[in-house]
Symmetry: C2
């Protein structure tokens, strides 16, 4: 079983987007190799969630690569700049957010490409989304197309006639659609992690950009978010 | 002094190509930020050479980033595949060498881009060469152009109207021309490291691809290589 399936490298942060992306890659018949980065986040909650998700979906292999983007500075996610909360958070949605990490998806996709070529995999999945994250330049379709073109010129496999494809199944979906799709594919959202600023015990803050988008998505999708939020008074 | 100069990120391996590239970036009036990778090479000689070169040229900042490409496997430079020597080495020059590291320059350039954007630098220098390393797909001009295009779509700075340029000053030079250029710019080649398989004390083997190209380059350039080779009987 599984011997004839093509391999795919799936970028897995442990959030609901990348988890749903993994579920979609499996549904499309790929054998999944999950790739996670420990890139100097201020918390380990994401990496732990990625491990839970990889186990849940029984991927062929899950690698977590350490890469210290803090050495470069430049983002709330890796620096000591406060993560914006509440109204402040919503207001920045039309501009490039301070949580933007310079060239992050390019770094992640480059490493996915390196692993893919080594594995003999020609399909890479990334859960970018152009709607909810319109402020991030490296979530746009034109960026993904340019990366794919570059990837096919960069590699031995590309030169020898293989074609690498960067799959972005969520790119035009709303958060509610992503959640409904994940639900339909059996994703257990209780094991995913979304928050930019979780408490030490891993509970999401409920107030950062990512938490707000997630909660809005569940509400619009008519589903209940199984996560216990830290600051919204839902539970102690 | 130096306050008005534009910043550039220079990829620095400690070999003679990247060292000459750094010298050329400085000659062109850039303020240099040198970036080195410890990516699972089997020896530390390169990283030490990069440190010597960064000190020699008094760069503004030198960062060495750890990134374990061995996790992916797939190359003689990072795996336990023997490095080809002598005739075997010369014969592979028309094909893609086994020393090819999947997507290596893409990974390195992506991280250079991340640092550049953080610094407010819009110029990145890489010492790729399309002549002597024609077997590497990620040393070709069409690859570099595709990366540059992608970089300008990937970044906040690119979206906001800045333009990132990937400089490849060596791309069409022969090894002899590179060595003569470096010599002209005052490069001390005794502090550079080229070998794929140095001895534990850091001396180059004199027999791998890289050593052979280097020795040929010095010979054709009419200059003497100051390095002491390990196995060619030149010195004990």
């Amino acid at each position: 079983m599984g011997l004839q399936r093509p391999k795919a490298v799936v970028l897995l942060s442990g959030g609901l987007d990348s988890t749903t992306t993994l579920a979609m890659a499996l549904q499309q018949g790929f054998e999944a190799y999950a790739l996670t980065f420990r890139y100097g986040q201020r918390h380990e909650a994401e990496v732990k969630a990625a491990e839970r998700v990889a186990t849940f979906f029984n991927v062929v292999r899950h690698i977590t690569i350490d890469i210290d983007l803090r050495r470069f500075g430049g983002s709330a996610l890796t620096d000591n700049i406060p993560v914006p909360k509440g109204r402040e958070s919503v207001e920045i949605a039309h501009d490039i957010p301070v949580t933007y990490v310079p060239a992050r998806n390019t770094v992640f996709l480059s490493l996915a490409l390196a692993w893919a070529e080594t594995l003999g995999a020609y399909d890479i999945f990334i859960g970018v989304n152009a709607l909810d994250y319109s402020g991030y330049p490296d979530c746009r379709p034109e960026y993904i197309q340019a990366f794919e073109k570059m990837a096919n010129l960069a590699t031995k496999a590309g030169v020898e006639g293989k074609h690498f494809t960067i799959h972005t199944p969520l790119i035009n979906m709303t958060k509610a659609e992503i959640i409904k799709k994940g639900h339909e594919l059996g994703v257990d959202f209780s094991i995913t992690s979304t928050c930019y600023d979780p408490s030490p015990d891993g509970r999401p803050c409920g107030q950062c950009d990512a938490c707000i988008l997630r909660q809005k998505g569940f509400a619009e999708g008519g589903l209940k978010d199984p996560l216990l939020y830290n600051k919204d008074g839902e539970r102690p």
